[in-house]
Symmetry: C2
């Protein structure tokens, strides 16, 4: 039963925001969204900073554009990661086992979901599911190696 | 000092090929190349199987094309993974610490390396390095979540 708890903690230099939604599935999804969203936003900051340094001029218009891109890309990365983390956890609970097949199934489902959300071609959805599963499996294998 | 050892082991159903090059850096790189290369090749098999089932015809020409694509994509995935795993290990040894910054630096170096190998634009190399670092960091964070 999901408790409706909510607490935040912020510590420095290792910033860690914890939001307890009272449900492990939701916790993971929100955690994935926030952390990977932050990574996506940071990526845009690094890119835009490099572009400013490279061209040597900063304007208000450009800052606004960068801010918008940060929000957009952060939200996209966060959503993909949140859905993947949530689905992988769900698959793990359903299968009752913790191995690389969870990552494969979770990745395939995430790929299919986002593909189906953005286009209507059945073939494209299947191919994106295959790609998602393969990428998630590869990442899972790299985890064991590093 | 790298010993010139070499041994293989194959067990089923959990297939695991271990090639000992006598050096942890080389071991990881080769391991990454083989494992992720296999994932890349499997992805092509899944894709081509789906295409055959979808179109309902199999020809010798198509099988040859699929085989070629398997080798090409497997080698590409394997090379990227091997270089990343090797670089991350190298960064870990140099920094003497094991945290997400290794993944970020390793990803950035891998992105820059492959970008520099395929094109000559300095801007593109820096952007690919940023993207590589961000993706590797995101993956590292997802590891902790799942």
């Amino acid at each position: 039963m999901p408790r409706s708890g909510f607490y935040g903690s912020l510590s420095s230099p290792k910033v860690d925001v914890v939001i307890d939604m009272g449900n492990p599935f939701l916790n993971r999804t929100v955690d994935g969204f926030l952390k990977i969203g932050a990574v996506g936003a940071c990526k845009v900051v690094a890119e835009e900073t490099f572009e400013c340094l490279n061209r040597g001029n900063v304007s208000k218009h450009k800052l606004e554009h960068a801010l918008k891109k940060m929000c957009k890309e952060g939200a996209y990365w966060g959503t993909v990661a949140g859905v993947y983390v949530g689905l992988e956890y769900g698959v793990e609970r359903i299968r009752g086992r913790s191995d690389w097949k969870n990552a494969m199934i979770g990745g395939a489902l995430t790929g299919a979901l986002f593909s189906a959300a953005t286009n209507n071609h059945r073939d494209k959805v299947v191919k994106d599911a295959i790609t998602g599963g393969a990428v998630a499996t590869a990442v899972e294998f790299i985890n064991y190696l590093t």
